[in-house]
């Protein structure tokens, strides 16, 4: 966790890259002809996931494959940390870039461990180091090395195969990963899980990732940046998912992201993006008159009963507060829905709509109540249009947004990682 | 073969052999031998088809007994025709009195016929099975879903789609039988092998070569006709993207494409 981001990531820059297919000679049995690319210029900052999304034949896969020179551009340059990829030795270039494809392409005649150690073997690591690395990576992607290392790819499920494909691409810790519809061949439930696992992994690894998909939802979920391609190999819009959803640059982009883009934005914003509003809280034994005063002064009529450590216990409805005396725990009857800073507004909204009192309490890792969230808050945020996060994963932003709260930025960061698994991951 | 003057001389004597009218006449002439060769080949392939096609269709459609049948067919492949023919000779001779056929048949025709039939069965059986198995299961499901009977599924879905592969097996069988029936001459059966065996006995290499040309030519000729048949019987929708010249397919005929790995 202490290993900060940008440990080994590179900037990838497309500089007026064009690929034309004038008279293609198609090899028999090869994939359908790839899409052309027309004067592509974009920069992927180090450590970010950039999703190339668009309809089929729009040139997104071609763009990806020009980075590791499976396809050579007709004109223009691709710069990796400022160095023209075209000038590098192609074999050495490919070995320094992780590559994951939809059908995975695991070698069926090699064990899982051998597959993972492919590039280490190619670049001449010792057998011992290869084995160590394979074990390490299998553990990283959540497959027990002792159990899975000796298996053959045919003995894995689709999801396991995809994970092994990712592990294989990570083997020599490449600064760049190219992922071509990596989760396209598995069912939606497994895909969702793999996406979440990968996002969690990326928080630690902070690679520069180019990710191709035709699925706009996946693009919005996975991308720090999204490049929407349209037919003819042109980029229709390049920006953060929020920007693209809030302000589609053209009719094409608006149609491509879909009519429900307002709802899609809910999935992009998180509870942490809302302004902090401390709830009116009381403890057992507090003076009732004082509590009444506090409730009256607050915009939300319910009082939150908390314990000594400020952990939420339940709502106390205004009409249950007696005229005098002290607060008892029996006064609180409704348990508030609990969310955290990483919960998406989509999930938070869903939870609140289901609850008796349509408000939720955001807690930190210690369980301390941090902020009150209401349905109105969510609606207001969405109405404000562009307001929202640029990148959901940025640690320093979290710290800034949380300046009013108690815990330090480090604590929040830890909470984010620990709870990422829970939020938005219905399967696990 | 192409050995300078030797080759040229051979060419001359070959032309002389083929233009000699004596070689084209009577019971030892080329036409008679050709007919004998065709006769034994078609009888053998015919009987093999009668046996192998229904069995192949059954196991291909139902999937039942497939392993057994394919294994038996592969055992058949392992039997050397020459060895089988000779081994059958004393047996057929011995059986003649009991079964009441002319012992002369047991000395020549029957051993050759039996070994050629056995040679032809495996490719027809295996290809019929493989062809049917290669038909997309979804199509059969669709047929069943539309209420087709099993027989209708077999005849109007599976067989038409599998027909190129099924006929491919038939071609392989015919080609092998025509090339191999040459050995019948060893048992003083006629056929084009006569020229080769007699040439061998007389050290007449011109005649050996002429015989080889005749057998190869016959095999290729028959195969070419079967290739045209195969094309004609292939449903038009499946013909797309296949080579148009039959000779390209001829080259692919002798070994079934999808020999199941049993």
């Amino acid at each position: 966790m202490s290993a900060g981001p940008h440990r080994s990531a590179a900037v990838v820059e497309f500089d007026h890259v064009t690929k034309r297919y004038d008279n293609v000679e198609r090899r028999p049995g090869s994939a359908p002809p790839p899409g052309a690319v027309n004067d592509l210029s974009l920069t992927v900052p180090a450590g970010k996931i950039c999703v190339l999304v668009g309809p089929s034949g729009c040139g997104k896969t071609t763009s990806l494959k020009m980075v590791n020179r499976l396809i050579e551009p007709t004109s223009g340059k691709i710069l990796i940390d400022g160095v023209d990829a075209g000038t590098r030795d192609v074999t050495e270039l490919r070995r320094s870039i992780g590559y994951v494809i939809q059908q995975v392409g695991l070698f069926p005649h090699q064990t899982v461990a051998e597959n993972v150690a492919t590039v280490p073997r190619l670049v001449g690591w010792s057998k011992e180091r290869q084995n160590e690395r394979a074990d390490e990576l299998l553990a990283l992607i959540g497959l027990d090395p002792a159990k899975y290392g000796k298996r053959f790819p045919a003995q894995l499920s689709g999801g396991e195969r995809q994970r092994v494909g990712v592990a294989r691409a990570l083997a020599v810790d490449p600064p760049i990963m190219l992922m071509d519809e990596p989760f396209g061949a598995v069912d939606p439930i497994v895909r969702d899980r793999l996406q979440n696992e990968f996002l969690r992994l990326q928080e630690e690894l902070a690679k520069t990732i180019l990710f191709v998909t035709h699925d706009i939802d996946e693009a919005i979920k996975m991308g720090d940046l999204v490049a929407v391609f349209q037919e003819g190999g042109k980029v229709a819009q390049f920006g953060t998912p929020t920007e693209i959803l809030a302000n589609p640059a053209s009719e094409f982009v608006a149609r491509f992201v879909g009519a429900d883009r307002g709802l899609k934005r809910l999935a992009l914003s998180r509870v942490g993006d809302l302004p902090i509003l401390a709830p009116a809280s009381v403890k057992v034994g507090d003076d009732v008159a004082d509590a009444r005063k506090r409730a009256a002064a607050h915009s939300f009529p319910y009082l939150l009963l908390v314990d000594a450590a400020q952990r939420p216990l339940g709502w106390i409805a205004p009409d249950r507060i007696p005229a005098s005396g002290r607060i008892y725990d029996t006064m609180a009857d409704v348990v508030p829905p609990i969310v955290n800073r990483r919960t998406t507004l989509k999930d938070a909204l869903s939870i609140m709509l289901d609850a008796d009192v349509q408000a939720a309490i955001s807690i930190d890792r210690a369980g301390t109540a941090q902020s009150l969230i209401t349905v109105d808050d969510v609606v207001r945020l969405m109405r404000e249009g562009q307001h929202g996060p640029t990148f959901g994963i940025e640690g320093d932003e979290d710290a800034a947004a949380d300046s009013a709260g108690g815990p330090s930025a480090d604590e929040i960061g830890a909470a984010v990682s620990a709870e990422a698994a829970r939020t938005g991951d219905p399967v696990d | 073969m192409g050995r300078g003057t030797g080759g040229a001389r051979l060419m001359d004597t070959l032309i002389a052999w083929f233009t000699d009218p004596a070689h084209w006449d009577g019971p030892t002439g080329v036409p008679t031998r050709l007919l004998e060769h065709l006769q034994i080949s078609f009888l053998a392939v015919g009987l093999a088809t009668l046996v192998a096609l229904p069995v192949g269709l059954f196991i291909g459609h139902t999937g039942r007994f497939a392993n057994l049948a394919i294994n038996l067919a592969n055992i058949g492949r392992a039997v050397p025709s020459y060895g089988l023919m000779v081994a059958l000779l004393p047996i057929f001779l011995l059986l003649a009195p009991a079964l009441g056929y002319d012992p002369a048949l047991g000395l020549t025709f029957l051993p050759l016929f039996a070994s050629m039939t056995l040679l032809a069965i495996p490719p027809i059986l295996v290809n019929t099975y493989a062809g049917l198995r290669e038909v997309d299961r979804d199509l059969i499901e669709a047929g069943r879903g539309m209420g087709m009977r099993e027989r209708e599924i077999l005849l109007s879905i599976e067989l038409p789609i599998a027909s190129p592969i099924v006929i491919g097996g038939f071609r392989t069988a015919t080609l092998q039988v025509i090339a191999t029936a040459t050995i019948g001459a060893i048992l003083s059966y006629g056929g084009l092998g006569r020229f080769i065996i007699d040439g061998l006995a007389n050290r007449d290499y011109t005649q050996i070569f002429a015989g080889a040309i005749l057998v190869t030519g016959l095999a290729l000729g028959v195969d070419w006709i079967l290739a045209l048949m195969q094309r004609a019987l292939t449903p038009r929708a499946l013909r797309v993207a296949r080579g148009s010249r039959p000779y390209r397919e001829l080259a692919e005929a002798p070994v079934p494409a999808g020999m199941p790995n049993v």
């Binding site: 392409g105 695991l106 069926p108 045919a154 | 000779l89 061998l200 080889a212 080259a251």
Partner: protein, 222 residues
């Protein structure tokens, strides 16, 4: 023929060493063409994967060679190479090519496109890809081809005995039996070559399983 037994077991008992010698000769007649044919066809198959255009003329040629009757081929080479092993080896090697080229090509082509793409994307050189990915994955179909070629060659090698006894093999029993009309030898030659074919086939299946443990995993799943 009357009264004569079909198989004279005591003759077989007396000639066990003969049978062994003939069997070993037959193995020689089989293994040499298979090894030569495999090397040639592997080179040709790699050529085909690099240059798909050559496949059609190549199979047309091997197909044409396959239709030449074996007796004629043996007989014809005799004046050139005499009654030497070469006379038998050349046609037998030639006959293996049709099967082996086809199956070696099919084997190399059976490598899934995604596996090739992954290999290329990870920076395999062409030679590394051939040696570590394409050839290992082609093994099952290659061995199927070898099995078929071995069985065919064992059968064809019996015919070489018609030329006379110099390299022998089990066909020698067949031909001698026919010449002297001795049914025991006639049946023995055929039966022994069938047994040899079965044993070879069985051993090759074992070799295949040994070489491709991963294929069993795949088959178990399918």
């Amino acid at each position: 023929m009357e009264g004569q037994q079909l198989i004279d077991w005591s003759w077989i008992g007396d000639h066990l060493d003969d049978i062994l010698v003939r069997t070993l000769q037959h193995l020689e007649l089989t293994i040499i063409p298979i090894v030569l044919g495999f090397i040639i066809s592997l080179i040709l198959a790699v050529w085909v994967t690099r240059q798909p255009r050559v496949y059609a003329p190549l199979t047309a040629t091997t197909g044409l060679l396959y239709t030449i009757p074996s007796i004629a081929a043996f007989a014809f080479l005799r004046p050139i190479f005499g009654l030497s092993l070469i006379t038998a080896i050349i046609p037998l090697t030639t006959y293996t090519l049709l099967i082996l080229v086809r199956n070696n090509v099919a084997g190399l082509q059976s490598v899934p496109a995604d596996v090739l793409e992954a290999a290329e994307g990870m920076g395999y050189t062409r030679a590394q890809r051939l040696r570590r990915v394409e050839l290992p994955l082609a093994v099952p179909l290659m061995i199927t081809g070898i099995r078929l070629a071995v069985v065919t060659t064992i059968g064809l090698a019996t015919v070489a005995s018609i030329l006379g006894d110099s390299f022998g093999g089990l066909g020698q029993f067949i031909t001698e039996g026919l010449q002297t009309f001795f049914p025991t030898k006639m049946i023995l030659g055929g039966a022994m070559s069938v047994i040899l074919a079965f044993v070879s086939d069985f051993l090759l299946i074992r070799v295949e399983h040994r070489l491709t443990p991963w294929a069993a995993a795949r088959a178990a799943r399918a």
